[in-house]
Symmetry: C2
Subunit: 424 residues, 2 copies
């Protein structure tokens, strides 16, 4: 389809390239842009002028030069607008207002129950967003877009959850339309692990890696996949649903999905909590039994903490979970050949035992060539990966060729919500 813009489409390609070179690849002058983009000097100058005029680039401090007239430094104007994001987990909501570079300006977290259904949960997000905006006299520019991560498969094109197993009532719910109607800006919705992977790729340990698998071990287990620098969502948007990969033949391991031997039933947060609860009840773990005696149920975090304190039963539970995650990852490493695996999510947060068990199994079972340069490490962003990634998702979409064409001439994407139906 022809772009809805006065801009010649050739110019649009150059605009997108120059914006990305400045905001993502660190170009800081017209000469660096010429070198990085392969575009001619005149083209770069013309497009930079347009971007300066629209306020998307800014000309900053003088930079050192090798001689002659010192070139002026170019920078992405991350404060041309701001973005609202929400990262919905099984039992929590993180919201944030960010700059266009994903800098967190405000950040709030609350407990929540995703299984309370969309009406209650989205009302809670609305209240949190309103609070961010009300107390946000210092938010830069206008609101430019909204990004939402949800703990289940999403059809990215329409922004609707698709048969999400732990989200009763959300199947097909128009999450995009809910926020677009309230705020009159473009909205994008994706799986929580996908936005976490984007966050790690943009601002975390995955920066600079082109082929990455991000594993989130929380109540469930999921993966975000980056293939040649781009998020891989798969045919139905369900890529990365690794929690239900079969890793055991034991008929006693029954998963909530109805199958047997699923990874999640052996190594997810709920499985770890269940094993901890059993060790507390039958007294094989003195420390967990003492906790249980205070009257509360054992959580996966309890098991991880007691393992870090040396409780041998808790150590066994975590190591067993790590070996199961590692067995799954060993297959994935042979198939996908990533250069980095990032381990994140609530269960991964405490102690190195889980990570050590995962590493031992992956390095022991994968092909030597696939693990030669493979790094396995913990998320460096922890809780913030989701909101940072959701912000990156929004800004990347706003500055994509198709969407930029629809708002560049107007200078702001506000009011664009009807026009944005990005291709899958």
């Amino acid at each position: 389809m022809p772009a809805q813009s006065q801009l010649a489409s050739e110019s649009l390609d150059a605009l997108v390239r120059i914006l990305d070179d400045v905001r993502l690849r660190g170009a800081r002058s017209r000469s660096e842009l010429v070198a990085l983009s392969g575009l001619g000097r005149n083209v770069v100058s013309e497009r930079v002028a347009q971007l300066l005029e629209r306020g998307l680039l800014a000309e900053g401090a003088f930079r050192p030069s090798t001689g002659g007239r010192p070139p002026r430094g170019l920078a992405f104007n991350e404060d041309a607008g701001h973005v609202l994001v929400a990262d919905l987990g099984a039992t929590s909501i993180d919201v944030a207002a960010t700059s266009l570079s994903g800098r967190l300006i405000r950040h709030r977290a609350e407990r929540a129950q995703i299984d309370a259904g969309p009406d209650r949960v989205l009302a809670q997000v609305d209240a949190l967003f309103d609070d961010l905006l009300r107390t946000g006299a210092d938010l830069p520019g206008r609101l430019w877009g909204i990004g939402i991560g949800v703990p289940g498969p999403v059809e990215f094109r329409t922004g609707r959850p698709v048969s999400p197993p732990i989200m009763p009532g959300w199947d097909g719910y128009p999450v995009r339309e809910h926020f677009a109607a309230r705020h009159d800006v473009p909205v994008w919705v994706d799986n929580d692990v996908n936005v976490m992977a984007l966050g790690e790729a943009r601002a975390g340990v995955a920066a600079g890696h082109a082929n990455v698998v991000v594993i989130k071990i929380g109540t469930g287990i999921g993966a975000g996949i980056i293939s040649d620098g781009r998020l891989h969502r798969g045919a139905q948007g369900s890529a990365g649903d690794v929690g239900h990969i079969q890793v055991s033949d034991d008929p006693a391991v029954v998963c909530r999905c109805g199958n047997r031997g699923c990874l999640e039933a052996l190594a997810g947060g709920a499985a770890i909590a269940r094993a901890g609860e059993a060790a507390a009840t039958d007294g094989t773990s003195v420390r967990l039994a003492a906790l249980r005696a205070t009257g509360r149920a054992i959580s996966a975090e309890d098991v991880a903490r007691e393992a870090a304190h040396g409780d041998p039963v808790a150590v066994d539970i975590l190591q067993s979970a790590g070996h199961h995650v590692g067995a799954m990852l060993a297959s994935i490493v042979n198939f996908f050949n990533p250069s980095l695996i990032v381990i994140g999510g609530g269960v991964s947060g405490s102690g190195d035992l889980l990570l050590a068990a995962i590493r031992q199994t992956v390095y022991g079972r994968s092909l030597p060539l696939a693990t030669r340069d493979l790094v396995i490490q913990r998320s460096s962003l922890a809780d913030r990966a989701g909101v940072i990634g959701a912000s990156a998702m929004v800004v990347d979409q706003l500055f994509s060729r198709e969407v930029l064409a629809r708002w560049f001439d107007r200078g702001t994407p506000a009011g664009l919500r009807e026009a944005v139906e990005p291709a899958a």
Copy 2:
């Protein structure tokens, strides 16, 4: 790096887009190009004129029009040059001369032993290429490039095999340089299953699918992966090495790689032949025993043929292999969410038993969302997928932005070999 071309780089983007829209997406007129590319009418006319002048596009027959002056039909001039390709297997070599659209002009197959080492095998390929060229007075245009598929991991950027398990003597061998020195054209080398996947994507059952896994079951087992329309090679180029994914805990299953329980040790051609040989020797299969009595070793093809004729032991062997392949694929489907799985390679060729067993296991074990629209089918190109894909690899590279910039002004990529070092 700046492109080595007189062309403005903005023009280059438009050239590549227009060429791809005509040769890959069926645009047949300037109006269709305007609609498909989103480029302006003037830009399309200018670039089309350049491409006609260079002989890359041709203006053909008059096409029906809705009124007014009938537009002239545009076509990709697939006969502007020709390509030589070789698909090396464990025990065979397929070579072909193709047009720039991958049309097979000549095709030869010979038995060969990849483990005889690069000197002997490449001399055999040289002789086959010489034969194609000698008898090829009718080959269109000049030789524009060479594409090679080899049965092992390849570092795509340099065109060198990396620790290939069944290719002794080939580790790090400069395959690209061997052919570039003899023919003075650009050369690209990739894994045999990757080129097979490209072939299926361009001219076979995978056309129109963006997320595809192609499984080749021959002597070994490997996969070619297409992610969002592009070949996924992974960090070291070893992506798709699924033959050594562990699918069994049985300590008796020892693989040639040294690990236990590998898929290839249970379901590869060699494993099927071994099981057939055992059934022949101990007489549990009367038909295989009768074959064995003629004095020759049982092959995987023998087992497949006898299974198709109803031999119950041979049926068991194939079904067991299919279930193991299916178990591996069930994990891959959850992780990668393809819309299509293509089964190819020598073992898959005869009968539907193997395919049925694979389907049964995948649909039984994967998540419903991931299999909702999943198609599992046999290769439609069979032996020709490799050579067609190798040709597509060469032409796609020749018409990529980076490489086209280096030869467009000269009109031919011949003599370009020193300049081509495409990014990974």
